[in-house]
C-alpha cells in the first residue's frame, strides 16, 4: 500500500491578489534530492534545503521587473537560469549575491519556459513553440525565432524528458477548445503534433504529467469532470512527417475520480510510478464534497491507497521530487513524503484469505471488477468501447441518480431492485458503485434515511469493493446493521485493516452487552463453552476470515480495551480447543476460520496487548492456557522432528538392502 507520511512546512506563501494563485510559479530540483529552487510569481528565487526546512539563499530582481518562468538549475555548470520580463535570460551561480550583476542576455522572442533536467542541457521553449538549446541561443541571442504555433494557439503546459539519451521537449497547447500535444526531439530536431481526443464540450485538461518508461512517453491528464486519461506515445516511431498534420492521440481512461458537486477547478494529477497517481484538489470519496484532499490512487486496481486533508485552499499545484510531494495550500507550501511500494495483488489485498472451500474460490473469481482490472491492461483495445458504454449507461441512469438523491426510501428500493433485475448487471458495475456511494452519502447526511436491504442487494452483486464506497462499512456499523457488515466483510476483497478492526470492536461490544448471562453460566465449565452467543460468534468468525496484513492490523488492534481483548482471546481459545478436539472443523458451518487463522489472530492479539494482559488479573488463567497451547504446539513440532529422523532412516534402509562386494543371486526371467 502506498502511504502518505506526516508532512512539514517548507515555507509560507504570499498568495496573489486574486487568491487563485498560490504565489509560487514553480519548483525545480537542485543539486540533489534534498535541495529545491522555488520561484515565486513575482520577483524572487529561493534555494531551500528541504530536510532542514530552511532557505539557503535567495535572489531577487529589481522592483518593476518580474520573473516570467521558474528558475532552473543546470547541474553541469552549477548555474541557475531564469527569465525575467519574458525576454531577458539571466544566468548566475550560487556565489553571486546580486542578480542584477549576473549575466544577462535579451532574446528576440518571448520565452515560455526554460527546462533543464539533472545532467542535461538547458532548453528554452518560446511562447510561439520554437525550441532552442540554451547554449546555441546564447551564442546569438538576437537570432530570429520561428513561429511554430498557429494564431490563437497558446502553450498550456510543458516539460522535458530524456529518453534513451534523446532529449525531448513536450508541451501541450490549446486552440479554440482543442488541445494538442507537441513532441519536440532535439538533436536531430523533429517535431510531432498530436490532437487530444475531445472530452465533453467546454472541458480542457486541468493538469498534465509526463513520464518515460519502456521506450514510451506516457502522458497523464486530468479533466475537470474527474476523468484521468493516459496516452502513450512511442519514442521510436517519431520523426516521420514533420508535424504536418496533427495525429489523433489514443487515450485510455485510467481513473474516474469522484468530483462531488460541479466540476473540478483547481486540481492536479501527477504520475508517481507506473501504478500510482497523486491527485490534489479532488474530493476524498468518503469525506463529502470538500476538495482539499491529497490522495494517492492505484491505477492498476483503481483503489484509493492513501488520503490526506490539506488545510486551506488548494491551488491545483503539485510537484514531486524524489518521493516527496510539494503542495501549496492555504498559506503554506508543504512537503509530504510518500511511499509507493511495488503494487501487487497480494499487497493490495493484505494477507490472503486462507482455507477457502471451492465454492468460495468461485465466488471470489466471479467478482468481476477484480479480473477486469487486473487484465485490463491486456484488453487495452476494447477499452474505449467500454467507456463509451458506461457513458451511455450514465446518461440512461441520470434519472435514477436523481431519484436516489431525493426520493423516499421505498421508491429508491423499488428503483434499485428494478435496475438490479436487469440481465446485464455486469456492465452496470460502475453504476452499482455510483449508486452505493450515493446511497451511503445520503444516509450519512440524512440520519432518517437508510436502505439496508438495497445496500445488501448491491453488495450481493459482488460488483462493489471497499475502495469504491469506503464509507459503506462504517455506515453499517454506525447503523448497527451487522448483517450488512458481515456481507461486506465477506464480499469485499480490500477492506482496510482499520475498518476490520472497527468491525471487530463493534462486534465485541455487542457481545458484551448481550453475552453477560452466557458468561455467568459458563463459570468453571466441564468442557469448553462458547464465551459468546452464536450470532456474535458468526460475526467474529467473519472478522477472523478477512484478509489482512499484520503490520497494518497491529496498531489498530492496540485500540481494543483490555476487557475486550480478554473476551476475544477467550473466544479464540474456545475455537482453538474446539478445533483441536474435533476432527472435522467443517462441522461448525461453512464459514469458519482455519486453525492457522485462529493461531495467527491469537499471536497478533497477544503481541498487541501482552504487557496489559500480564498486568490484568483476570487474564492470568487465559495466558496460562495459551502458554500451554504453545507448549503443546512446540511439543508436537519436536515430535514431528523425531519422526522425520525415523522416516529418513526408512529411506536409508531401502539402500541398506544393497549387496556387498559379491553375492550369488537367483533371478527369474519370464
Amino acid at each position: 500500500m502506498a502511504a502518505l507520511y506526516e508532512g512539514y512546512t517548507l515555507c509560507g506563501l504570499v498568495p496573489g491578489q486574486t487568491l487563485t494563485n498560490s504565489g509560487i510559479q514553480g519548483i525545480e530540483a537542485e543539486r540533489d534530492s534534498d535541495h529545491v529552487v522555488v520561484t515565486d510569481s513575482t520577483r524572487s528565487v529561493t534555494l531551500y534545503k528541504v530536510s532542514d526546512q530552511k532557505p539557503l539563499s535567495s535572489w531577487t530582481v529589481k522592483q518593476g521587473q518580474t520573473l516570467t518562468c521558474p528558475a532552473v538549475y543546470n547541474s553541469q555548470t552549477e548555474e541557475y537560469v531564469v527569465v525575467s520580463d519574458n525576454k531577458v535570460i539571466r544566468i548566475w551561480k550560487d556565489e553571486d549575491i546580486l542578480l542584477d550583476k549576473a549575466f544577462k542576455a535579451t532574446v528576440s522572442s518571448d520565452v515560455w519556459r526554460v527546462h533543464c533536467l539533472p545532467g542535461g542541457e538547458p532548453v528554452v521553449l518560446f511562447q510561439r513553440g520554437a525550441v532552442r538549446l540554451l547554449d546555441s541561443l546564447l551564442s546569438a541571442p538576437q537570432q530570429p525565432i520561428e513561429e511554430v504555433l498557429a494564431q490563437e494557439e497558446a502553450i498550456r503546459w510543458s516539460t522535458n524528458i530524456v529518453a534513451d539519451s534523446q532529449q525531448f521537449v513536450i508541451f501541450t497547447t490549446e486552440q479554440k477548445g482543442d488541445s494538442f500535444l507537441y513532441l519536440h526531439r532535439l538533436n536531430p530536431n523533429t517535431l510531432q503534433r498530436y490532437r487530444l481526443e475531445r472530452e465533453e464540450p467546454g472541458l480542457s485538461p486541468l493538469s498534465f504529467s509526463a513520464s518515460y518508461r519502456d521506450k514510451h512517453i506516457c502522458l497523464l491528464y486530468l479533466y475537470p469532470n474527474g476523468h484521468v486519461y493516459q496516452s502513450v506515445v512511442s519514442v521510436r516511431g517519431l520523426g516521420g512527417d514533420e508535424g504536418a498534420q496533427a495525429l489523433p492521440l489514443p487515450r485510455s481512461l485510467l481513473l474516474g475520480l469522484p468530483v462531488g458537486e460541479g466540476l473540478l477547478e483547481a486540481a492536479s494529477a501527477q504520475l508517481l510510478d507506473e501504478a500510482h497517481v497523486a491527485v490534489v484538489g479532488v474530493p476524498h470519496p468518503s469525506a463529502g464534497a470538500g476538495k482539499d484532499f491529497l490522495c494517492i490512487w492505484n491505477t492498476n486496481f483503481q483503489t484509493l491507497q492513501a488520503g490526506k486533508e490539506m488545510a486551506g485552499k488548494i491551488y491545483g499545484q503539485l510537484w514531486t521530487f524524489s518521493n516527496k510531494l510539494f503542495i501549496p495550500h492555504g498559506k503554506t507550501l508543504s512537503v509530504i513524503p510518500y511511499e509507493c511500494p511495488k503494487s501487487s495483488l497480494a499487497s493490495a489485498l493484505g494477507k490472503l484469505k486462507q482455507a477457502k472451500t471451492e465454492g468460495e474460490l468461485k465466488q471470489m473469481s466471479c467478482v468481476p471488477s477484480w479480473n477486469n482490472i487486473l487484465h485490463g491492461d491486456k484488453a487495452q483495445p476494447s477499452r474505449p468501447a467500454e467507456t463509451r458504454k458506461t457513458v451511455s449507461n450514465f446518461i440512461k441512469t441520470k434519472y435514477l441518480n436523481f431519484s436516489v438523491q431525493t426520493a423516499p426510501v421505498e421508491e429508491v428500493q423499488r428503483e434499485v431492485e428494478g435496475l438490479l433485475s436487469r440481465a446485464d448487471i455486469q456492465d452496470l458495475q460502475p453504476l452499482v458503485g455510483q449508486l452505493a456511494s450515493m446511497l451511503v452519502s445520503r444516509s450519512l447526511a440524512d440520519p432518517a434515511f437508510y436502505t439496508p436491504s438495497t445496500l445488501a442487494q448491491l453488495v450481493h452483486t459482488q460488483s462493489l469493493c471497499h475502495s469504491v464506497c469506503p464509507d459503506l462499512v462504517l455506515l453499517a456499523l454506525e447503523r448497527r446493521d451487522f448483517f450488512l457488515c458481515q456481507l461486506c466483510l465477506q464480499f469485499f476483497p480490500d477492506i482496510p485493516e482499520a475498518v476490520t478492526c472497527a468491525c471487530l470492536k463493534a462486534f465485541i461490544r455487542v457481545v458484551i452487552k448481550t453475552g453477560e448471562e452466557d458468561k455467568e453460566k459458563s463459570s468453571t465449565p466441564p468442557e469448553p463453552i462458547c464465551p459468546v452467543g452464536l450470532h456474535k460468534a458468526v460475526l467474529l468468525n467473519e472478522v477472523l476470515l478477512t484478509a489482512y496484513s499484520d503490520t497494518f492490523l497491529l496498531p489498530h488492534l492496540k485500540d481494543l480495551s483490555s476487557q475486550h481483548v480478554v473476551l476475544f482471546l477467550q473466544y479464540l481459545q474456545f475455537l482453538y480447543l474446539k478445533y483441536s478436539q474435533d476432527a472435522s472443523p467443517q462441522m461448525h458451518g461453512l464459514r469458519s476460520p482455519s486453525l492457522t487463522q485462529i493461531m495467527d489472530w491469537v499471536c497478533m492479539v497477544l503481541d498487541a496487548h501482552f504487557t496489559v494482559l500480564v498486568m490484568t488479573p483476570e487474564a492470568k488463567g487465559l495466558l496460562v492456557n495459551l502458554h500451554s497451547f504453545v507448549k503443546s504446539q512446540v511439543r508436537l513440532v519436536s515430535e514431528l522432528g523425531k519422526i522425520e529422523g525415523s522416516l529418513q532412516e526408512l529411506n536409508k534402509m531401502k539402500v541398506k538392502k544393497d549387496v556387498g562386494q559379491y553375492s550369488i543371486e537367483i533371478i527369474e526371467l519370464f
Binding site: Y662, I666, E668
Partner: protein
C-alpha cells in the same frame, strides 16, 4: 524362460581417471579427450557418441592440452613435450621437446600451418606444421611468468595469452607484446594470491574473453586492451572456456562443477546493441570442470568426476527427442573384463595392472529373488603389474584360464598361468611379428592367440606347452587403415571375425587361412560381435542399437535378421543411450542371444515373436504378475533384466550361471577427493 544363478560381482575396483582436456573437431565430429593418466579417447559424435578409439596413457605423462589441426591431433603436457598421435595405429606418432619447461597450453592458427605452445618459462613457442612432423620456428617475446592459456585471433595477426595476474596480446608477426591487461585478484584472503588466467578466447570481433582463478569471466576489448565487463560466476576458479563456432555463445567451467553459459544477445528486448549476457547454468558435475567443448548443439563437459557429459542446448535441438536427452558417459564403451568360461575366472584390466579372480561358489538352491549362501568366497588369484611405464591397451584370458596376454602401445606380453599352486610364467620368446596388439583373443581350445595389428590385419600365433609360433597374418582386402576394435572367434575354431572403426566386419576362415567374407557395411560402428557356436551365425550390434544376424555359411543375413529389420526394433530399444558392449550365447538353448549395455542385460529368444511397436518392451514385471499359462501369450523375444546397474560385463559360465560385473557409480564417486567446499544453508 527360467531361473538363473547370477554371480553378482562388484569387486572390480575400476576407477577412470579425471578428464583433463578435450578438443572437438567439428568437421569430423570427433571429440578427443585426454585423462589425467594420459589416456586419449576419441568419441564419434556423429555416431551416437561412440567411443571409437582409446590410446592408453603412460606413467608420468600429464597432458594439459589438446589441439586438432585438421585430422591431426596434438597434445602438450607438463613434461614439456608436444606429441602428435597416430590415430590409425593408436600410438603417439612422435614427441618433440619444446625446451621451455612444462607446457600449459597448445593452440593452432586457423589455417593449420602453425602450432603454438605456452610454457612455464614465459615463452610462447611457434612450431611449423609440416606433413610428417613439426619444426620449431621461433619464440615470441619472452614474458616474466608462465603462459597458462593462449588463443589466436582468427585473422592470425594477434595472439592473446593468459598469464599470472595479466593477459598479454602479442603481434603474431613481430612477436612483440602489444598490450598488457591486468586482471584483478580476488577479494579477501585471496588478495595476496596471484590470479591465474586459466583460459582465454580471442573472438573475430577482437573481443577477448578470459576465465581466471578469482572466479571471473571477463570481457575485454582486444584492440584497446580495456576491460568491458566482468561477470563473477563462482567463488572458486573458472577453469576453462569454450566458444561456439559462430561466436554467439560461450561456456565457462568452474571448480564448483557448474558450466555457465553466456550468449551474445541484446540484454533487453528491442535493444539493438548486443552484449555478452549470462544466460544458463548447468550443474552436471560434482567436481571441477576441467575441460569443455561447445559443439553446435550441445555443451560437452568433463572434469575431476571422470564423467563426460553431453548436455544438448534445448534451443538448438528439437525438444523431447533422443537428440535433446542429456548423456553421461561414465564407463568405457569397450570391455575391460574377460571371462574364462570353462575355468570360471575373471580377468580385470586396469590401466597399469591386471587381476585374475575366481568367482565364488554356492551349493544351495533358492527361490527367485534369494541370495544364496556363499560357500567359497571369490578369490583374487593373480595381480600382474604392467612393465615399463606404458599402460595396458588390451588383455585376454584363454577360456581354459591357462594363458594370459596383454598389450601396450609398444609390446605384447604373454603369460602362462598355473593354479594348483599358483604360478605365473612369462613366455619369453614371442614371434617378432607379434609386436602390436590392439585387440587380443584366444581360440576356444586355447591353442591359438589372435592379435590385431596395423591396417586391420590379424596375426595368428600357435600356442603349446613348449613354444609359441607365428603362423600367418590375415589381411582384409579393403585396405582400410583403421584399427580393429572388436575381435572374436567361433567355438568350433573355424571362424574369426574382426570389426574396425571404418565399420567394416571381416570374417576369416581359419582352416583355409584366408578371408571368408565381408559383412555388408552398415553406417553405424559395430559395438559388439559374436559368432554363434552351433549355427555359425554372426551377431552384430551397432552403436545405433541395431542388431544384425549374418549367416557365415550362406553369406547373407538370416531370416530372423530380415524379419527384425522389416519390423523394426522397438522404439524404447533404440532410445537406450549406452551401447551394447558384449554378446554371448546360451549353451543350453541355441535360440538365446545374451547381450548387455550399462543399465540392463537382455536375453533375446529368437523363437518368440518380436515385440511390436505398441507392446510393452520392458515387460518382465507384467509377466511376473500373470498366471503361468497366460505368460506365453504376452511374452516376446526381448527378455530384459534391469536388476543390475552400471554393468561392465555379462557372461555365461560353463555351468550355465551368469556372471554380472557391476561397477556402481556411487562406489566410484566415493573414491573421488572431496569437492570444493560450498556454503549450504545451515552448515
Amino acid at each position: 524362460m527360467g531361473e538363473f544363478k547370477v554371480h553378482r560381482v562388484r569387486f572390480f575396483d575400476y576407477m577412470p581417471s579425471a578428464i583433463r582436456a578435450m578438443a572437438f573437431n567439428s568437421h569430423t565430429e570427433r571429440l578427443a579427450l585426454v585423462r589425467a593418466d594420459g589416456a586419449l579417447e576419441i568419441f564419434n559424435f556423429a555416431d551416437h557418441y561412440f567411443q571409437e578409439k582409446v590410446i592408453p596413457g603412460q606413467d608420468g605423462r600429464a597432458v594439459e592440452a589438446l589441439c586438432w589441426v585438421g585430422q591431426r591431433l596434438f597434445s602438450a603436457g607438463l613434461n614439456g613435450e608436444i606429441t602428435e598421435y597416430d590415430l590409425e595405429n593408436l600410438r603417439p606418432r612422435y614427441t618433440v621437446e619444446a625446451y621451455g619447461g612444462p607446457i600449459w597450453t597448445i593452440g593452432s592458427n586457423k589455417q593449420g600451418t602453425l602450432l603454438m605452445v605456452g610454457c612455464e618459462d614465459g615463452t610462447v613457442k611457434m612450431f611449423e606444421i609440416l606433413k610428417e612432423r613439426i619444426q620449431f620456428q621461433r619464440n615470441l617475446e619472452r614474458q616474466k611468468g608462465r603462459i597458462v592459456s593462449l588463443s589466436w585471433h582468427p585473422s592470425g595477426t594477434l595472439i592473446a595469452a593468459g598469464m599470472m595476474d595479466m593477459i598479454r596480446i602479442f603481434n603474431a608477426e613481430t612477436g612483440h607484446a602489444t598490450h598488457r591487461m591486468l586482471v584483478e585478484r580476488g577479494v579477501g584472503a585471496s588478495k595476496s594470491r596471484e590470479v591465474v588466467v586459466w583460459s582465454v578466447a580471442f573472438l573475430s570481433d577482437y573481443t577477448i574473453i578470459s576465465g581466471d582463478s578469482a572466479g571471473k569471466v571477463q570481457i575485454w576489448d582486444g584492440l584497446t586492451g580495456t576491460l568491458v565487463r566482468t561477470h563473477l560466476v563462482t567463488k572458486w576458479d573458472v577453469l576453462c572456456l569454450s566458444v561456439s563456432q559462430d561466436e554467439s555463445s560461450l561456456i565457462a567451467g568452474t571448480s564448483e562443477g557448474t558450466v555457465v553459459q553466456f550468449q551474445f544477445i541484446s540484454s533487453t528486448v528491442d535493444q539493438q546493441e548486443e552484449e555478452w549476457v549470462r544466460t544458463r547454468t548447468f550443474k552436471n558435475h560434482s567436481h571441477d570442470v576441467r575441460a569443455l567443448a561447445h559443439t553446435e548443439t550441445a555443451v560437452v563437459s568433463g572434469g575431476m568426476d571422470t564423467q563426460l557429459v553431453v548436455r544438448p542446448l534445448l534451443d538448438k535441438v528439437e525438444k523431447n527427442t533422443q537428440e535433446s536427452a542429456m548423456r553421461k558417459i561414465a564407463l568405457p564403451h569397450r570391455s575391460l573384463v574377460c571371462c574364462a568360461k570353462k575355468a570360471g575366472l575373471l580377468l580385470f584390466q586396469f590401466p597399469d595392472h591386471l587381476e585374475v579372480w575366481r568367482v565364488g561358489e554356492s551349493d544351495g538352491h533358492g527361490k527367485p529373488g534369494d541370495s544364496l549362501p556363499v560357500k567359497r568366497k571369490p578369490e583374487k588369484l593373480i595381480q600382474l603389474k604392467g612393465k615399463g611405464g606404458d599402460h595396458i591397451y588390451s588383455s585376454a584370458l584363454s577360456p581354459c584360464g591357462e594363458w594370459l596376454a596383454y598389450s601396450t602401445v609398444s609390446s605384447v606380453r604373454l603369460y602362462r598361468l598355473q593354479y594348483n599352486n599358483i604360478s605365473i610364467t612369462k613366455v619369453s620368446k614371442l614371434p617378432k611379428d607379434l609386436c602390436l596388439g590392439h585387440q587380443l583373443c584366444f581360440s576356444s581350445d586355447s591353442t591359438k592367440l589372435f592379435a590385431s595389428s596395423r591396417h586391420s590385419s590379424v596375426i595368428v600365433v600357435a600356442l603349446n606347452q613348449l613354444e609359441c609360433k607365428y603362423l600367418h597374418t590375415l589381411k582384409p582386402k579393403s585396405g582400410s587403415r583403421q584399427p580393429v576394435h572388436l575381435l572374436c572367434t567361433s567355438e568350433d575354431g573355424k571362424w574369426l571375425a574382426t570389426a574396425n572403426t571404418d565399420c567394416e566386419i571381416h570374417v576369416y576362415d581359419l582352416h583355409k587361412r584366408k578371408l571368408h567374407c565381408t559383412v555388408p557395411i552398415y553406417s553405424s560402428c559395430p559395438t559388439a560381435i559374436a559368432i554363434h557356436p552351433t549355427t555359425s551365425h554372426l551377431v552384430v550390434v551397432h552403436a545405433d542399437q541395431q542388431i544384425f544376424e549374418y549367416s557365415l555359411v550362406q553369406k547373407e543375413y538370416t531370416e530372423w535378421s530380415r524379419k527384425l529389420q522389416k519390423q523394426g526394433l522397438h522404439s524404447l530399444w533404440l532410445e537406450r543411450d549406452t551401447p551394447v558392449t558384449h554378446v554371448t550365447f546360451s549353451l543350453k538353448n541355441p535360440a538365446h542371444i545374451i547381450l548387455h549395455d550399462m543399465f540392463m542385460f537382455c536375453i533375446i529368444d529368437q523363437s518368440l515373436p518380436l515385440p511390436e511397436s505398441k507392446t510393452l518392451l520392458y515387460n518382465q514385471m507384467t509377466l511376473r504378475s500373470l498366471p503361468e499359462q497366460e505368460r506365453i501369450r504376452h511374452s516376446h523375444a526381448f527378455k530384459i533384466c534391469k536388476n543390475f546397474k552400471h554393468v561392465m560385463c555379462v557372461s555365461l559360465l560353463e555351468d550355465h550361471s551368469l556372471v554380472v560385473v557391476e561397477r556402481p557409480l556411487l562406489d566410484m564417486m566415493s573414491q573421488l577427493p572431496a569437492p570444493v567446499r560450498q556454503k549450504k544453508f545451515a552448515t
